[in-house]
Amino acid sequence: MSPAGRRTSGDWWSDETEENHRPPAARGRGSRRGFGQTWWGRAWVDALEHRAALDPGRLSRGRSYARRGAVGQMDVAPGLVMAAVQGSRAVPYTVTVRVPRFRRDDWERVLDAIAAQIGRTAALLDGELPPEVVSDVAAAGLDLLPGAGEIQPRCSCPDWGDPCKHAAAVCYLVADALDKDPFTLLRLRGKSRADVLSALRARRTPGPGSSAGPSAGLAGSSAEGVVARDAYAGASEPRPELPAPPLPPERPGHPVTVAFDPPPESGIDPEVLRALATAAAHRAWQLATATPGDPDHEGEADA
């Protein structure tokens, strides 16, 4: 039903030009900015424009839409990016961009490749995704960044262009998201950052890595105990003398926790943890070395 040929802008029923169309209540940043400030963002844009085999003309329309802030809330889930984009209609359009996820054994190879390098794992645990990871993944025979046909944008708008400018805008904004958090890419490919990290840890440590259960160190979780009758059976045997408590340190110590950092998603501020632990050490030291109270003034008999 649309007229043959292309329109330069707007919807088929609208004669507005790009220049004077202003989506209501949406403003973007500077009009000529580029996308992708970090290596990852740029790598994504590169993949988008050159490798994904998308129509460059349509893509470029998406750039201006993205620049003017037409894209609202954007969610990245495994294999799927979803966003609401404000077009000329009152109700925003829904855009989905699909990217194939890695299969399970693909991920195994990817994680193996990453885990092999001590520096890589260290960086990941530190919250960084070094670009070398791409080559690690390539060594496993896979491509972290999307290749031909791997980016599939869809939009609820009537425009038949592929991608329509709304979808194209969302594609560009993924670069922004990657700038903020490169792990978004891994998430797209199917694993959240937490998943990746625990998988990496599990590789270096066999053993219960389940984060669902209580920390094994918490004593309350050991519920076996000992049969009471047996415990009392040996009650009359002579017991060794009570050991004297170990001397407190010369001064309060540094909590080991100082060196461990909760990730941002946990919502726990490491600085606060450190401060709490340090204060606890001080408090304990004072209690352990404090002198007992003054002897009270006993009633003095008339001796």
Binding site: E241, P246, P249, V258, A284, A288, P292, D302
Partner: protein, 980 residues
């Protein structure tokens, strides 16, 4: 050569020196875990009330209870018992109070666990965790092998009662293991301490860097706020903390100096290659130490070149352990982060700034991250230390510098390396050093800015003489909260030496005017006292009761008479005034004696060699007047009356100046360190430092932690000033007679004197106007009445109470029992009157002393039970009211006998007492006879001595001989005389 008496041997506080008969307060303790950990509680409960069903909790209102599993024959039974529940904070307060050595094992065990838990948190060994129900919580960790070993020791020493908390739903019923419960308690402690209380919930100071308080960001509620809060979000980062604990290897950073390291195979005394000390950088070599075998150290380089060998020795996770350790280390000390950039790191280069940082702050931070920093001693030595040297400011030209306890000394700092002093050139080189390390004497020596700053400080530091002497005795001085080595010089050193060698005293001759022969140990005591007092120092004579402290003191007074330093003031309990006076009259009749006590007391015209007797009560009231006199010596008898340093008595005593001070006490003063401080700080002011510092550095470490180093230091400090001989000492026991009898002469109270006079007046009147049988009856009635008044007004008036403060004899008995029971000995108390024994029993019960009571009306079977109980040590005091001629009893457990009142037939009396205990038991026995001053008891004693032979002739006729006295003799006998 008799055994040198040790002045100090501190009992470990958990081994009860249970005075016989003091049964432990039966309060058991157990920990009840909960989720979150901080809501766990300590329950205090009494097994004796376990069967009482509902009832008030031990010591508190309300009906809190705890469920425990108790033995029932060969089975077990779950019981809900009344208990007092303590929150973790309350429990910490409870267990850090003065430890009770007589509490049951479970109670002491949880006390030790509490202190150990505090220690772990104080070390910083706490970590965030997730509780079983998903709450945020803190726990202790990581524990190193030493912590685990101690935990096992404590668990092994815990009786089942201490961890008898049932696990819900278990069949057959199971209880928590001791180890598990202790760990849970520790976690609860960590969880409680990490959460600030309401008062400062909003601000936290970063105590390490002292940044300003910042509002508690709402970013860690599950770990910060008191209310339980679930952990949302990922929690696997918590597991990483555990990873550290389970690590098979720990990271070690070994610092290597620029010369490329010294080949450890080279013998140490060979000259190392000349070192280019200007160029070259230090290097931190990465090594791994096995946690299961700490002697195993492996270079990380080997991990890359020969991984298989390393992994088998350190565990398959060695690489992960290394990785995580490097991350932690880099966070704690950033220069370590360079190791992470390499694919196969082996070490890090350290620039001068890095070294400086490592020395000051970095090593501690790395320690907190669990990374050891090694400075091999063959390269670095033990470091630069400062010693303090003291010198007396001597007047120029003085041939023999004198040293008095009022002097001030200066001390200066002396830098040493490995114990040897540095030359001036070396010190100059240090001061000019630009790098953090300097090559000195074949080692790299750390250039410590603090040390150099101290050296450069101009103003000399002064020390009081007592402090200097204390430092010379222990070899240590505390400066600015730090303990440094101390070398004494000159007179201080000589004095310390003389004090240390005091055991081999020059013997001194017995003073000529002493009317007694001193036993050898008393000679030594006299020599020791003379030596100390002659030096202007004071001391404490702490011999057991019965070894003759009074006699030694009297000898000392006579010995010091020629010095002409002034009269001696003796402060003692009121009940001993009479005894002192009698003994002075007996042993030193040439010495004038007066009592400064009672109305009309004065100090006018005190002779220069006089002994003035007064009481603690008078000292409290009249210390101003006493302070105006010039005393040659002040003696505090039964000095435990001044054991509370803050009370008025002690303060008043301190305010009386004198040339020297001697304290006498029979109680084992070394078991109560605050008491020890109070006494020694009075005799030799300043020798034990301030009370606060004494508590912090000595009392708490010794009493709470049984620190052997602190015990040794206290011994060195106090031994020269404390002489304690025990009856059981091998050099002394043979010299003691099997039985020592002494009269304790006590004054009457005003009430007693009034009653006494009234009775005398009334009945003498009647006696004069009667004769024959009636007269005899009246005489006996009079004597009986007076004896009862002398015992206690309540006995005479047939009242049940009140008892304290109304009888001199009762006060004297209390004094005696205090010392006897404190030494853990047993005593027989005789009275002719059942009623008096009953009053005594009530009185002692009220004071918490267990007693047994045997009188004529007790059947044979019960009598045997009582005797068995006493011999088994179930009660320290046995009250006996027996007519003469009772069946012989074996009561050899007693080493003391008190005759509260006396039979006036001497043979009968001897028989009764000798039959009651077997003489010739292997321990000497002391017999104390309480005699009221100025009364008929006083005079009859003389009479009896005079008529001892007559007594033989009247065995069996009781006291009838008294009824034969004439009116005049009788009047003399019963007249109430005033003390001289």
């Amino acid at each position: 050569m008799p055994q040198v008496p040790v002045g100090l041997s501190v009992r470990p506080s958990n081994v009860p020196q249970v005075p016989v008969g003091f049964e432990p307060v039966g309060v058991e303790a157990v920990f009840v875990p909960a989720d979150p950990p901080r809501t766990g509680t300590i329950a205090l409960w009494e097994p004796s009330r376990a069967g009482s069903g509902s009832g008030n909790a031990a010591g508190s209102g309300g009906d809190a209870t705890v469920e425990v599993v108790l033995p029932a024959g060969s089975r077990v039974r779950r019981s809900v018992v009344p208990a007092r529940l303590l929150t973790i904070a309350e429990a910490i307060d409870h267990f850090t109070a003065e430890p009770d050595p007589m509490a049951p094992v479970s109670h002491r065990a949880w006390g030790a666990a509490a202190l150990a838990g505090l220690g772990l948190v104080a070390h910083g060994k706490l970590a965030p965790a997730r509780s079983p129900q998903g709450f945020g919580a803190w726990r202790v960790g990581p524990l190193d092998p030493a912590d685990h070993a101690w935990l096992r020791e404590l668990a092994a020493a815990m009786p089942p009662l201490a961890h008898a908390v049932p696990i819900t739903g278990s069949r057959p019923v199971r209880i928590h293991t001791a180890e598990g419960l202790i760990r849970a308690f520790w976690d609860a402690i960590a969880d409680t301490l990490a959460r600030p209380d309401g008062a400062y919930a909003d601000t936290l100071t970063n105590a390490r860097t002292r940044t300003s308080p910042r509002p508690l960001a709402a970013k860690a509620e599950p770990f910060a706020l008191p209310d339980p809060a679930r952990l949302d979000g990922p929690t696997d980062w918590l597991d990483e903390i555990e990873q550290f604990e389970r690590a098979g290897a720990r990271l070690v950073l070994r610092i290597e100096p620029p010369s490329g390291g010294v080949d450890e195979v080279e013998p140490v005394d060979e000259e190392p290659e000349p070192v280019d000390t200007e160029a070259g950088s230090f290097r931190g070599l990465l090594r791994l130490r096995s946690t299961t075998d700490p002697s195993l150290l492996v270079d990380v380089a080997d991990l890359w070149t020969a991984p298989a060998a390393v992994l088998t020795r350190l565990g398959a996770q060695a690489e992960t352990d290394l990785l995580l350790a490097l991350r932690r280390g880099a966070r704690a000390w950033p220069p370590l982060g360079t190791a992470l950039t390499a694919a196969t790191p082996t070490g890090v280069d350290l620039g001068d700034d890095d070294l400086e940082d490592l020395l000051t702050r970095g090593a501690e931070a790395l320690d907190g991250a669990g990374i050891e920093v090694l400075w091999p001693t063959e390269l670095f030595g033990t470091g630069l230390k400062l010693r303090a040297r003291a010198a007396t400011p001597t007047p120029a030209g003085a041939a023999q510098p004198t040293f008095s306890m009022r002097d001030l000394l200066t001390f200066r700092w002396q830098p040493t390396i490995d114990g040897e002093a540095l030359t001036d050139d070396e010190i100059a080189a240090l001061a000019e050093a630009k790098r953090p390390f300097l090559w000195l004497r074949g080692r790299w020596v750390k250039v410590d800015r603090d040390v150099l700053a101290r050296l450069r400080r101009r103003t000399p530091r002064t020390l009081g003489a007592a402090e200097a002497l204390a430092a010379a005795l222990t070899g240590e001085l505390e400066v600015d909260e730090e303990r440094v080595e101390f070398t004494a010089e000159g007179p201080v050193a000589q004095l310390a030496e003389r004090l240390r060698a005091a055991e081999s005293d020059l013997a001194i001759s017995t003073p000529a005017d002493l009317q007694a022969t001193l036993r050898p140990y008393q000679q030594r005591g006299l020599a020791w006292l003379a030596h100390l007092t002659g030096l202007g120092l004071g001391g404490c004579l702490a011999d057991d009761m019965g070894l003759g402290k009074t006699l030694q003191l009297i000898a000392l007074h006579l010995h010091r008479r020629p010095l002409g330093q002034g009269p001696t003031l003796v402060v003692c309990p009121t009940s001993l005034l009479g005894t002192w006076q009698r003994e002075l009259a007996k042993f030193a009749p040439t010495i004038p004696v007066r009592r400064f006590h009672g109305a009309g007391r004065h100090l006018d015209e005190t002779a220069p060699d006089e002994v003035v007797l007064t009481t603690y009560g008078v000292v409290r009231r009249d210390h101003d007047e006493l302070a105006t006199a010039t005393w040659g010596m002040v003696v505090a008898d039964e000095a435990q009356h001044a054991k509370n340093p803050l009370a008025r008595t002690a303060r008043a005593l301190r305010s009386i100046p004198s040339a020297t001070r001697v304290a006498l006490t029979g109680t084992p003063v070394e078991n109560h360190l605050t008491e020890l401080w109070s006494i020694l700080d009075w005799t030799t002011p300043g020798i034990l430092g301030s009370l606060d510092r004494f508590r912090r550095r000595l009392a708490v470490p010794i009493e709470r932690y049984r620190d052997p180093d602190a015990t040794a230091r206290l011994g060195r400090l106090s031994r020269p000033f404390l002489l304690r001989r025990r009856k059981s000492d091998p050099g002394i026991a043979p010299e003691l007679p099997p039985k020592t009898e002494s009269d304790v002469v006590v004054p009457l109270t005003t009430e007693q004197a009034t009653l006494y006079k009234a009775v005398v007046d009334e009945v003498m009147e009647e006696i004069r106007s009667s004769e024959g049988m009636a007269r005899r009856g009246l005489v006996l009635a009079l004597l009986t009445a007076l004896k009862q008044v002398c015992n206690h007004p309540a006995q005479y008036l047939h009242e049940a109470g009140p008892l304290p403060g109304r009888s001199g004899k009762l006060a004297a008995l209390d004094e005696l029992l205090d010392v006897i029971l404190a030494e853990g000995e047993s005593v027989l108390v005789f009275s002719q009157y059942v009623e008096m024994c009953q009053l005594l029993q009530g009185h002692l019960d009220a004071r918490g002393v267990r007693t047994l009571f045997l009188h004529g009306g007790v059947g044979a079977k019960k009598r045997e039970q009582l005797v068995t109980a006493f011999q088994a040590g179930e009660a320290p005091v046995f009250l006996l009211s027996l007519k003469a001629g009772g069946v012989g009893l074996t009561l050899t457990q007693a080493t003391h006998v008190v005759h509260f009142d006396r039979w006036w037939n001497p043979a009968v009396e001897d028989q009764a007492t000798d039959r009651a205990y077997r003489i010739g038991q292997d321990r000497p026995v002391q017999v104390h006879r309480l005699v009221t001053e100025g009364t008929l008891e006083d005079r009859i004693a003389d009479l009896m001595r005079a008529k001892r032979d007559l007594a033989d002739a009247v065995v069996g006729s009781g006291e009838a001989w008294l009824t034969e006295l004439s009116d005049a003799e009788l009047a003399d006998l019963v007249a109430l005389g005033s003390p001289t």
